[in-house]
């Protein structure tokens, strides 16, 4: 279905410079409903700049950024959020000591009653949190437990569920698996796939782990020094190929060659044994 729907987000030759420094150049990207777009790259490759532009934190200065076919120049994340473009950052915007349901509705609390007795609608918020978490496939026994007691993966999923509940059509996930162990990463990857396939959300998954990307991705983009190094759908790409590009592509070959020669030289003098 994804191939036929028109893109929610379409970037055409988008670029961004800070003074003389070009942080991002000629990026073309389409995010469709139900599709996971993986953006990979080394530190400083331009991933952060790209998602900042998409999320409305920064404004692009070249090219066209269109949402639903309309060119946009966001000046605040709020504007992007109002169009359903929601970013979940590594810090997750969660308060560890607050309970799950309070975190879920933090900043968007449901209220009832008339002033001065206007108060939190605790019952509805508890029920809604429960429904939304179950819809994402998470089963938490006690919604009153502090978010800090959840595992890293569960916390990430709560953050994703929250973004989905508050109307996200496009989810930008900034390195959601970076700080997680193997099993916790698995939990998060499962929900990334779930959010896209079952809920029809367009996911932009930023990572520097090609294994994680290849497990859930429909489309891959590798950035290097602010430029697109690779842009390919899953059908045209193998994991090895992705890893090759991710690891630095042609540059890596040169490095490998160089290191190998160094080792051979050392082996020749008999100082270092090469296996």
């Amino acid at each position: 279905m994804a191939e036929h729907s028109s893109p929610i987000i379409q970037l055409t030759d988008v670029g961004k410079s800070y003074g003389n420094f070009t942080a991002l150049k000629d990026v073309n990207l389409a995010v469709r409903q139900g599709e996971v777009t993986c953006i990979l790259g080394d530190n400083g490759a331009g991933k952060s700049t790209l998602i900042s532009i998409i999320a409305g934190l920064h404004t692009h200065d070249q090219g066209i950024y269109a949402v639903d076919g309309k060119a946009m120049h966001f000046t605040s994340p709020r504007e992007a959020l109002d169009l359903g473009i929601s970013a979940v950052y590594q810090t997750l915007a969660m308060v560890p000591l607050l309970s799950i349901w309070r975190n879920f509705f933090l900043g968007s609390e449901l209220m009832r009653g008339a002033w001065p007795f206007r108060r939190l609608d605790v019952g509805t918020m508890l029920d809604t949190t429960d429904v939304e978490l179950k819809r994402m496939g998470i089963n938490v026994t006690d919604l009153e437990q502090p978010v800090g007691t959840l595992s890293g993966g569960q916390r990430q999923v709560v953050a994703i569920a929250r973004a989905v509940h508050f109307g996200a059509r496009v989810l930008i996930l900034d390195e959601p698996t970076a700080a997680l162990g193997v099993s916790q990463s698995g939990i998060v990857l499962r929900y990334i796939a779930h959010a896209a396939r079952e809920q029809g959300i367009g996911v932009i998954f930023i990572t520097h782990n090609p294994h994680h990307a290849y497990m859930v991705g429909d489309h891959f983009m590798v950035l290097a020094r602010g430029e697109v190094e690779l842009d390919a759908p899953r059908s045209e790409l193998s994991l090895d190929n992705l890893m090759f590009h991710m690891a630095g592509g042609a540059g890596l070959n040169a490095l490998q060659h160089e290191l190998l020669r160094g080792e051979q030289a050392a082996a020749a003098t008999g100082k270092v044994g090469v296996d």
Partner: protein, 349 residues
């Protein structure tokens, strides 16, 4: 333990929160340690100090607790919001002095003095908050500075205006009787005299608890103190919340200052120093974390009750009153360790 399953459940089962045992919910509350402390201290002095058992003595204890507890509830709000206020102790005196001096020297009416003092106390609170968000210094430093400045100003200005270290008696002024009735009157139940401050103390604790747990602002206070960056990211006006919290402390010290003024008719300009630490100690015994994001208004009021019982208990037990501070320190240490232990137990389930 919570679990995560791979399949999404389309049909939604009723949430299972209600099934939890009541005692488990109770020990998760931050004020439970203070509640235990109240019982322990009460039993301790009831056994050791015979006069402690009389109702008339108990009203004195409640009164003592109220004078600590009213500012302590506001201080617990501030601490949950992640900040300190070391100026709260002397700010009570600043408020009384402002009201007394304006009433006697400028306005000629007690109520106008009361209003000017309110403005002054809120302004000091706002200044503390403004300096905090502008300089980004730790509130310990900011309010230590205002504490020292107020301490100096209290005495210097009083001397300048009245020529002595105390203000003139205000009990013969216009409006004194009505103001006295509002801030410092007392009533009798079963032959024992209760100060109205006790009612205000309980009201502060109850309203405070409701605001913290059941309003949007309360939710925001926990978030601002627990993780300021996250609070900002979800759109909570962090700076406004912090300034507001300092102004709330300003309001509570004004209230306390007015009580002191109308209870004693005159103000000693050097009074109040050291009380700020008792407010903080009450809040911490009541479950507040020094790092913010966790605590309780009712717990803070209970913490004040513990210290109120100790002050009077030491006297009723015929000990040297100097022992009071030793007890405050010992209880603070015990309560902090116990609260910490309880919190890890409760959150690990």
């Amino acid at each position: 333990m919570s679990s995560v399953t791979g399949t999404a459940a389309p049909s939604v089962a009723r949430r299972e929160v209600a099934h939890q045992a009541l005692w488990k919910k109770v020990i998760k509350r931050p004020e439970v340690g203070a509640l235990g402390g109240v019982v322990l201290v009460f039993v301790f002095f009831t056994v050791l100090a015979p006069p402690f058992r009389h109702l008339s003595a108990f009203t004195t204890i409640l009164y003592e607790s109220a004078t600590l507890g009213i500012p302590a509830v506001a201080v617990s709000f501030l601490m949950i919001g992640g900040e300190f206020d070391l100026s709260a102790g002397v700010a009570v005196t600043t408020s009384s002095l402002t009201a007394a001096i304006f009433a006697t020297r400028v306005m000629g009416n007690v109520w106008l003095g009361v209003l000017v003092a309110l403005g002054m106390s809120l302004a000091i609170g706002a200044l503390n908050g403004y300096l905090l968000v502008k300089t980004k210094l730790h509130s310990f430093l900011v309010t230590l500075s205002t504490f020292l400045m107020l301490q100096g100003l209290n005495i210097a200005i009083t001397k300048l205006v009245t020529g002595s270290v105390a203000t003139d008696d205000i009990s013969d002024m216009t409006g004194f009787n009505s103001a006295h009735a509002v801030f410092a009157s007392s009533f009798t139940i079963a032959g024992a005299t209760f100060s109205i401050a006790i009612l205000y103390w309980i009201a502060f604790a109850l309203i405070g608890t409701w605001v913290l747990l059941r309003t949007k602002v309360g939710n925001w206070i926990f978030a601002v103190g627990g993780q300021g960056d996250s609070a900002r990211a979800v759109g909570i006006p962090v700076k406004r919340v912090k300034i507001g919290l300092f102004m709330l402390v300003g309001f509570s010290v004004w209230f306390m200052g007015m009580h002191m003024l109308f209870a004693y008719d005159t103000v000693q300009s050097g009074a109040g120093i050291g009380n700020e630490l008792l407010y903080i100690a009450s809040a911490v015994v009541g479950g507040c974390l020094l790092t913010g994001g966790y605590g309780s208004a009712a717990g803070s009021a209970l913490g004040a009750f513990i210290f109120g019982m100790t002050t009077e208990g030491v006297i009723y037990a015929d000990w040297d009153p100097d022992w009071f501070m030793f007890f405050v320190g010992a209880m603070l240490l015990l309560a902090t360790v116990f609260n910490g232990w309880l919190r890890t137990r409760a959150s690990s389930r």
